[in-house]
């Protein structure tokens, strides 16, 4: 799969059942995803495979995932984007 196609695929995986998740994930896909290294990219994919209710807990900072690499990605998503 080419890079553009992969981004398209991920864009659809970022479509979730809650507005909170849509906004956080899509914003990250557009502004932070490109900076991820190979391992973090895999971790982002693992994150997207998790159920929405869990994603919400993590992305709102109520809990941290036990998978350390996923936890790192969660921290990056929660980071305030440069203005």
């Amino acid at each position: 799969m080419g890079a553009a196609t992969e981004i398209n695929r991920l864009r659809w995986q970022c479509r979730r059942g809650m507005r909170e998740l849509d906004l956080l994930l899509l914003q990250f896909l557009d502004s932070g995803y490109a900076d991820l290294d190979a391992n973090a990219t895999l971790a982002f994919n693992r994150l997207l495979d998790c159920p929405d209710a869990l994603l919400l807990e993590w992305l709102l900072g109520r809990q941290l995932p036990s998978d350390k690499e996923v936890a790192d990605v969660v921290q990056r998503i929660r980071r305030r984007p440069a203005a």
């Binding site: 799969m1 553009a4 196609t5 398209n8 695929r9 864009r11 659809w12 479509r15 979730r16 059942g17 809650m18 507005r19 909170e20 998740l21 849509d22 906004l23 956080l24 159920p51 929405d52 209710a53 992305l59 709102l60 900072g61 109520r62 929660r78 305030r80």
Partner: protein
């Protein structure tokens, strides 16, 4: 053109709570069922429901279905159909116990019974003291219901088409529904799914408005498919707004914040709710608060550089109270606005929340349209359930906790009717190639490589027009302008194009198809709102501030063809009890 085809007894479009409840009933009855969903099923919007589902179990306080029915009729501002409401309220305990058996982990009382919380609009004894009717699985009710139903469906061998986008219904010249044309998002390949019966369960259309609480997938696709198939949409002018969404983003800030002592301020630092509701102030009903916020902003007393919102102040409550009583809100605000509401007021604005209108059905889930013999003739083979349908149990205003109930009860009822139908109709009707060609044309229209408009730009303009012209503040002039603006946007959409013409996961093309759907529904909504010259439930016209039962206790029907309005009576006769006659709605 010859396309790949699959055949099933029933095609269900939508894998939220409504679609999955129906699918389960059918699969367990040995029907061959296909469920199509544009996102993975457990990512459907039902997952967002946190509050719970209503049923008169009487576990915490005395209760019965008849009181629940009264509250729902009154909450609907007497536009709900009383037969459907009776049916729903009576079926409620049963669908909740069924969920319990499927493994939904409802919160419990010490005696082991299902815990029930009190919600707005719930009363005992026909308008008396507060009732406690809402069953919840902690704050994850929707998630728990959706996951249990999905697991049960896998076990019952329901066939899932995950990440397939339904484009249009297929019909024969006599109007029978034959199936649907769908698109596999991963490959970009179209597929014809033939079925003897089709159930639409595609959810709501919150994306009509710029500020909304809904997931991006809520673009009202099923409603638009119905419109294009010649079926009118019912009561589309009724859209529920919540007064306090995070400004510019939409996420809900619960009423609980104001319940704990938070209050609203305008750009001049004034507690303006004192002017609009001297007694209830910030705790006045949702529509009153929403209109007040809108008016402040419109009259130039908004906050921020663009003066486009007001502030919800709770920093005076102290960090301890905020941290203890409103933790969820604090995290949400910190995450999205990078500010701590315990220290800084929250920018808020009314946010679109729930689509009361939709595809007209009877209480068996059959789609019904006005025909020569009467106002409600079933369309053979076509059903709808859930937020995309209008059965109508919510009428002009939905009560909290009644939507999860609606999707479960009528998903199940539709399935039961379909099972009977399948016994009578054992064969598929011949496919109609013209109908397939028409649906394919919708797809190929986006193959063009140049144009003057972008999908994104048009969507944003449409959402802004709907917010300004069909939002919480409505009058003749604003709505007329709204109709003209949506018509213009629709014309401009002819000049729209997309840059990406790849096949695999082409999300630009999906977004273009969603925009077309939103455009159809926007017209239905704004035209219906213009014609209804009264105020009822969520539809409030400042130029017609009173409810007018003589002229308007009737359902609106919007037809796409000629943008024609039509009306039909409210079904005020329940199944087994006396009707509740309209009264002034006071709480």
């Amino acid at each position: 053109m010859s396309l790949p085809r699959r055949k099933f007894d029933t095609l269900i479009i939508g894998a939220g709570g409504g679609g999955l409840r129906a699918a389960l009933q059918l699969s367990q009855a040995e029907a061959r069922v296909a469920v199509v969903s544009k996102v993975f099923p457990t990512r459907s919007h039902t997952v967002a429901a946190q509050g719970g589902v209503n049923a008169a179990l009487a576990n915490v306080l005395p209760d019965n279905w008849h009181w629940h029915m009264f509250d729902t009729v009154k909450g609907s501002d007497y536009l709900g159909d009383q037969d459907a409401i009776e049916y729903m309220c009576r079926a409620a305990p049963r669908v909740v116990y069924e969920l319990e058996h499927m493994g939904v982990p409802f919160s419990r009382l010490d005696n082991g019974k299902i815990y029930q919380r009190a919600f707005g609009g719930q009363s005992r004894n026909f308008g008396g003291d507060q009732a406690a009717r809402t069953c919840a699985a902690a704050d994850r009710t929707g998630h728990a219901i959706l996951h249990s139903l999905y697991q049960q469906n896998i076990r019952a061998r329901t066939h899932f088409f995950d990440e397939f986008f339904a484009i249009d219904l297929l019909r024969d010249p006599e109007g029978n529904v034959l199936g649907a044309l769908v698109l596999e998002i991963a490959t970009g390949e179209p597929l014809v799914i033939e079925a003897k019966t089709v159930l639409l369960a595609t959810g709501g259309a919150g994306q009509l408005f710029r500020t909304n609480t809904n997931a991006l997938i809520n673009t009202g696709d099923g409603m638009a498919m119905a419109l294009r198939a010649g079926i009118p949409l019912q009561d589309m002018e009724f859209f529920q707004f919540h007064p306090t969404g995070i400004a510019g983003k939409g996420m809900l800030i619960t009423e609980g914040v104001r319940g704990e002592g938070g209050y609203l301020l305008n750009g001049e630092g004034e507690r303006f709710m004192e002017r609009y509701a001297p007694k209830a102030k910030d705790l006045a009903s949702r529509d009153v608060v929403s209109r007040a916020i809108y008016t402040e902003v419109r009259e130039g007393r908004g906050c921020g550089p663009d003066k486009d919102h007001v502030l919800l102040k709770l920093d005076h409550l102290g960090v301890d109270v905020v941290a203890k009583r409103l933790p969820g809100i604090r995290e949400t605000v910190k995450t999205f606005l990078y500010l701590d509401p315990a220290e800084t007021p929250i920018p808020v604005y009314p946010t679109a929340h729930y689509t009361m209108g939709g595809i007209p059905t009877n209480r068996h889930g059959q789609v019904v349209v006005p025909e020569h013999n009467g106002p409600e003739e079933p369309v053979l083979g076509l059903y709808a359930a859930g937020e995309c349908a209008c059965v109508s149990v919510h009428g002009a205003n939905r009560l909290g906790g009644n939507s999860l109930l609606d999707i479960l009860v009528f998903g199940r009822a539709a399935a039961n009717h379909i099972i009977g139908e399948l016994k009578q109709n054992r064969y598929h009707r011949p496919m109609n190639d013209d109908s397939v060609d028409q649906a394919m044309a919708r797809l190929s229209r986006w193959d063009r490589r140049d144009g003057s408009e972008t999908v994104d730009g048009l969507k944003r303009e449409l959402q802004t027009v709907m917010e300004q012209h069909c939002g919480v503040f409505r009058n003749e002039e604003i709505l007329k302008e709204g109709v003209a603006k949506v018509v213009e946007l629709e014309a401009r959409m002819q000049g729209a194009y997309i840059k990406d013409h790849s096949k695999v996961f082409n999300t630009a093309r999906i977004e273009a198809l969603e925009l077309e759907n939103l455009m159809d529904i926007a017209l239905a909504t704004v035209c219906s709102a213009l014609e209804r010259r009264e105020s009822r439930g969520a539809h409030s016209r400042v130029d017609h501030p009173e409810r007018d039962d003589v002229h308007w206790m009737r359902h609106s029907l919007f037809h796409k063809d000629g943008r024609r309005m039509d009306y039909k009576p409210v079904r005020i006769k329940p199944i087994s009890v006396e009707p509740f006659p309209p009264k002034k709605r006071v709480y």
